[in-house]
């Protein structure tokens, strides 16, 4: 049976009109079904890693490097081991025979491979690097043990300037590699040179997107119980439990079949927890060594200094633009400011590569050229965080478009609409990305109406006369979603991605669904049950969705990159249709009609036109499993199917506008309002989508205005507590108004496009553009970095008053080719 027949694609979200359908238990997709997850969380009964207590469990704490770059001369364990309650002190040498290395790369010829010991007690490459593990009877005692370790460092010169790290003669993090550059990649489509020659204007910009991070409320945590029979159970606060198993089994030397990874409650993942961390190998190794379960709960310092940082990219952009504002071509050089090693498995390319790949966004340009470099520096490794490199790439491009609009005297909304690809149709961009239809212009126009843009511009002009400065910042986005093989390839990552789901009707007619994705805030147990209910024609309440445990759910790669609604949703639709077919055939056989005559809805199979000929799902379940001769001859006695899905490329889109008022004298920015319109194709649950938008936008506000994982020139880490790493709180996040447009995907199962990250991609630059817009009367204002705090605003105003442009770099950026050829000569 075709899916379309049973699945309302959610084109017309009209809750009132469709309320009947819900009451009749015929339709759940597109409805604001309340989250089944909430009762546990609201009553304080969520189960996080730290809530797990095992008999005989010991506690680990890490000695972490105080130096950004040093040779470790010695670590003297004597005093620590003498402490009462300290069981073991483990350094790299102790694990040489039992724990293999991590070997990290992206499979393309331009990329290096970094192979490294997972506990390196000989060389420190960043402040926070694990150097030793102390296992003790309590966390307090373990930290006393760490305190009692005597470390002798031989300090080496730190590599902190990412651009200098690429130069000949720079000190090296890995002398045996002969370079600090993890990858150099170039890409070109169309006649870039011709466009730049033909253009009326060539604009150039250097933008330094700052380092920020997920900083989840629940930091990381790992418990390992390597038991006497050789089986290993790991609890880890991860969004990819199956990948943790696959990637750590090798270095630990254990078969995946003997290993179980549980990530039940996860208090915020945001992509950070979609990595495989050293601690996820080291805590199991410690458990094996001491012969007892070992628990490590990351503290806030560790999370800030030594989990994963994200988003830092230095971007050089050039745009070829006509007098009337038409964009001809874009060029970019993206320098990802990597850390001590490539995060496993995504690597530091997760920022610069997507940033570069999405350079044209939805602008209809003729040619594009980009290159990226990924220098390693003595910082915390760089990895994925909600929106990955699309955030810095988007911030650089969209601040520049505002610069150009101001320079050419064109409204920032108009210049974007003028260059935008058409709405609604499939479109192959100049880079070859295949967009599956969107509301690129319509979403901007929708927000224009929401904020009364014209009225607001008038108000802005009036307020300026009173010495008050409000600003409006536009940020329309397109987001590559549903990380599968195709979208990964389009973003430069040539690897295979998929996910799987099993759908089972139990003997009593209830439904169990498992997927390889991971539920940590996105309400999969609700939204995927909605998908299942509509696919099967059963009541929502009869469905239980299981994820988060490698032993109880099917294998899959987890939840990240706005993928689950599409990938797991699609896999459920596929598996569900198979099961639905089986149900219908069974019911038809039992009621002696042909399958076409069966109507399956509300958990009942009825014969069309004969209302009293009905079988309940329970009757069908019992028949399937225990019906013996009543079953269809030669069929197997189960009602289950497992299918996987690897979707084609799909892209959501939308627009965010920020409205700010800037206090000129203090540089303080009051973010007054955010309005957004998003389009993620078929909506599963608008309320959940709003929640994702709110959270992602709040995190983006942090990246735009507050959060800065700063290091000083000597490599010391400055944002080591939440007194200095400032995430926006309820007082900094304004009201967020969200509208929806639905342009179902032309290519995915059910027309779902995926969402969740766009807020963090687009809201930083909405804030930045609003700030620039507010203070633009004071001179040539260009935003050259993020985040922008009050100190930066004052600096821009001072520079503007002095005649040079706001926060300009010391020299005008050389054009991209010159920079590349200089670099090639250097190398």
């Amino acid at each position: 049976m075709a899916i379309q027949e049973t699945l309302n694609t959610g084109l017309n979200i009209q809750p009132e009109a469709e309320a009947d359908a819900v009451l009749q238990r015929r339709k759940y997709i597109g409805m604001n079904v309340l989250r089944t997850e909430d009762p546990a969380f609201l009553t304080g009964r969520g189960k996080y890693t730290d809530d797990v207590h095992l008999t005989g469990m010991l506690h680990a704490a890490f000695l972490r490097s105080a130096q950004p770059h040093a040779r470790i001369v010695s670590i003297d364990k004597t005093r620590a081991l003498a402490l009462d309650g300290v069981i073991d002190v483990i350094t790299g040498e102790d694990l040489e025979d039992t724990v293999g290395p991590f070997s990290t790369t992206v499979h393309r010829p331009e990329v290096e491979t970094v192979t490294r010991a997972i506990l390196n007690s000989k060389v420190a490459l960043y402040v926070g690097q694990p150097l030793a593990i102390v296992v003790a009877e309590s966390r307090y005692l373990a930290e006393d043990g760490v305190d009692a370790l005597d470390v002798e460092y031989e300090v080496l010169e730190p590599v902190m300037d990412a651009e200098k790290a690429l130069e000949e003669g720079s000190p090296l993090l890995y002398p045996e590699m002969g370079t600090n550059n993890f990858a150099h990649i170039e890409f070109q489509r169309g006649d870039v040179d011709e466009c730049f020659e033909r253009a009326d204007h060539v604009f150039k910009k250097r933008f330094h997107a700052g380092r920020f991070m997920a900083a989840p409320l629940e930091a990381r945590g790992v418990i390992a119980d390597w038991d006497a029979s050789g089986e290993l159970t790991v609890w880890s606060s991860s969004q990819v439990p199956n990948l943790v198993r696959t990637y750590t089994a090798g270095p630990l030397g254990i078969a995946e079949s003997k290993m179980r990874v549980i990530s039940e409650g996860v208090g915020g993942g945001f992509g950070m927890k979609a990595h495989i961390f050293d601690e996820e190998v080291l805590i199991p190794a410690a458990s094996q060594r001491v012969g007892a379960p070992v628990k490590w709960i990351e503290d806030r310092y560790e999370n800030l200094a030594a989990s994963l940082h994200s988003k830092e990219v230095i971007v050089y952009l050039e745009m070829a633009v006509q007098d009337d504002g038409t964009f001809l071509a874009f060029k970019g050089h993206y320098i990802g400011v990597g850390g001590a090693w490539p995060a496993h498995p995504w690597t530091s390319l997760i920022d610069p590569l997507p940033a570069a790949s999405l350079l044209p966004s939805f602008y209809d340009i003729e040619a594009v050229g980009w290159s990226i470099d990924a220098p390693m520096t003595n910082r915390c490794p760089l990895g994925a965080y909600r929106g990955v490199g699309w955030t810095p790439g988007h911030s650089a491009r969209e601040t520049m478009i505002d610069d150009i609009a101001r320079e050419l005297g064109i409204d920032p909304l108009e210049i974007r609409l003028k260059n935008m690809i058409p709405d609604g149709e499939e479109f192959v961009t100049v880079t070859g990305m295949k967009y599956d239809g969107g509301s690129y212009s319509a979403s901007m126009l929708k927000v224009k109406e929401m904020i009364d843009y014209d009225g607001l511009r008038q108000k802005q002009a009036e307020l300026r006369k009173e010495g008050r400065y409000i600003g409006i910042g536009w940020s329309p986005w397109v987001e590559p979603c549903a990380w599968g093989s195709e979208v990964a390839k389009a973003n430069g990552f040539a690897a295979e991605f998929f996910d799987a789901a099993s759908v089972t009707i139990e003997p009593d007619g209830s439904v169990t669904v498992t997927t390889g994705c991971h539920n940590h805030g996105q309400a999969h147990y609700t939204t995927l049950a909605q998908v299942t209910a509509d696919t099967l024609g059963v009541p929502f309440e009869s469905i239980r969705v299981i994820e988060n445990d490698s032993a109880t759910a099917v294998y899959g790669t987890g939840t990240y990159a706005s993928r689950t609604a599409v990938v797991a949703g699609g896999a459920i639709m596929r598996a569900g249709s198979e099961v639905r077919d089986k149900i219908i055939r069974l019911a038809a056989h039992a009621m002696e009609v042909s399958p076409e005559d069966i109507d399956l809805a509300e958990g009942k199979a009825s014969v069309k036109g004969v209302p009293d000929k009905v079988m309940t799902m329970q009757e069908i379940g019992m028949l399937a499993y225990y019906g013996g001769p009543n079953r269809i001859p030669d069929t197997e006695p189960t009602l289950t199917a497992t299918r996987s899905y690897d979707p084609p490329e799909t892209y959501s889109n939308g627009t965010i506008v920020a409205i700010v008022e800037v206090d000129i004298e203090t540089g303080k920015v009051h973010l007054q309002h955010i309005a957004a319109c998003e389009d993620c194709g078929t909506m599963l649950n608008p309320m959940v989508i709003d929640g994702q938008m709110h959270g992602a936008i709040a995190q983006g506000i942090g990246g735009g205005m507050y959060e800065d994982l700063a290091y000083d020139a000597s490599g010391q880490f400055l944002a080591s507590s939440l007194m200095d790493y400032l995430y926006p709180s309820t007082t900094e996040v304004p009201n967020i108004e969200i509208a929806h447009i639905e342009t179902p995907s032309t290519v995915t199962e059910g027309g779902i496009k995926g969402m969740g990250e766009s807020g963090t991609i687009a809201s930083p630059v909405a804030c930045l553009n609003a700030i620039a817009d507010a203070i633009s009367p004071f001179g040539d204002i260009k935003i050259m970095k993020s985040p922008i705090g009050p100190n930066d605003v004052r600096e821009m105003l001072r520079a503007a008053a002095a005649g040079s442009n706001g926060s300009a770099p010391a020299t005008q950026p050389a054009d991209v080719e010159t920079r590349l050829s200089q670099q090639a000569e250097g190398a």
Partner: protein, 288 residues
């Protein structure tokens, strides 16, 4: 983030507390609300061997108005914020208190703890300076009173011995007839100020300022008075000299830089906030 081992004692009287402090004088700390000390201990930046908890000493807690306003050292921030007596006597205290951390911090943190901790970016020390507060300090054998100007020595350092505790903060002058203004710039609401100003002034019937105090936080290792600006304001009509007073304040300070704000920023903002505070007092009249 677990503290190094320490011993803990909860005192019931001031005499007991000071005796215990005296006994362990080598490495002992008073514990009040713990909102500054405990984070430092958890990060092992502070490692006292003994903590003397003073929050069980009844006589240290409470607000009293008797010509002067006296706030007991262990009175929680939230009680000060909500107190009608405080608001009537010196509304600027309540206004400043709103900027101290968040509800949780204010529920445990103490007024005296904030003063004794002597963070130069903190609101309360600036208020103590602006209002000519007097600090009552008890030692094992005697009690003494220290003027605000002598109390703050440098960052986290006061004119108290290891065996002394701050018992109360006394504000001698009621502000019910004075003009006042409080402003600060912090990165986020509830953060320590990058720069703050607490200003009070008395104005005669002719509109001429007769007495002024302008205290700045975040611009030095202690809260400081902008004395040159004060001198200009006294004898003048406040509004007429506000801009110039701001410039004088800027010239008088020599702040440091950190990664949230440069010295230059702090100077500019000090000027802006002093001017703003004076303009407030000029336009908004008595007891704003």
């Amino acid at each position: 983030m677990k503290p190094a081992p320490f011993k803990y004692a909860k005192a019931e009287t001031v005499a007991e507390a000071t005796a215990l402090l005296d006994q362990h004088a080598d490495d002992v700390k008073v514990l009040a609300g713990g909102q500054s000390l405990i984070p430092l201990m958890n990060m092992r930046l502070a490692r006292p061997e003994v903590l003397i908890d003073i929050t069980g000493i009844d006589e240290l807690s409470g607000i009293e108005v008797n010509g002067a306003l006296t706030i007991g050292a262990t009175t929680r921030h939230v009680e000060v914020l909500r107190s009608n007596e405080v608001r009537a006597f010196a509304p600027i205290i309540a206004a400043a208190m709103r900027h101290v951390g968040h509800v949780g911090v204010r529920t445990r943190g103490t007024f005296g703890g904030s003063v004794a901790h002597a963070d130069p970016a903190s609101e309360i020390p600036a208020i103590v300076i602006a209002l000519d507060g007097e600090l009552t300090v008890a030692g094992p054998s005697s009690e003494r009173t220290v003027a605000a100007a002598d109390y703050f020595v440098s960052t986290f350092t006061t004119d108290m011995e290891e065996n002394e505790i701050l018992t109360a903060v006394r504000f001698p002058y009621p502000l019910d007839r004075a003009r006042w203004s409080f402003h600060e710039v912090a990165r986020r609401h509830g953060d320590f100020a990058l720069v703050g100003v607490a200003a009070v002034a008395e104005v005669d019937d002719a509109g001429v300022c007769t007495r002024a105090r302008i205290a700045l936080s975040g611009v030095s290792d202690v809260p400081v008075r902008a004395t040159a600006a004060e001198e200009l304001v006294v004898g003048s009509t406040i509004g007429e000299v506000a801009a110039e007073a701001g410039r004088l304040a800027e010239r008088q300070i020599d702040p440091g830089s950190d990664f949230h704000a440069s010295a230059e920023y702090r100077k500019e903002v000090a000027r802006a906030l002093v001017t703003r505070a004076l303009n407030d007092m000029a336009t908004k009249g008595e007891a704003r």
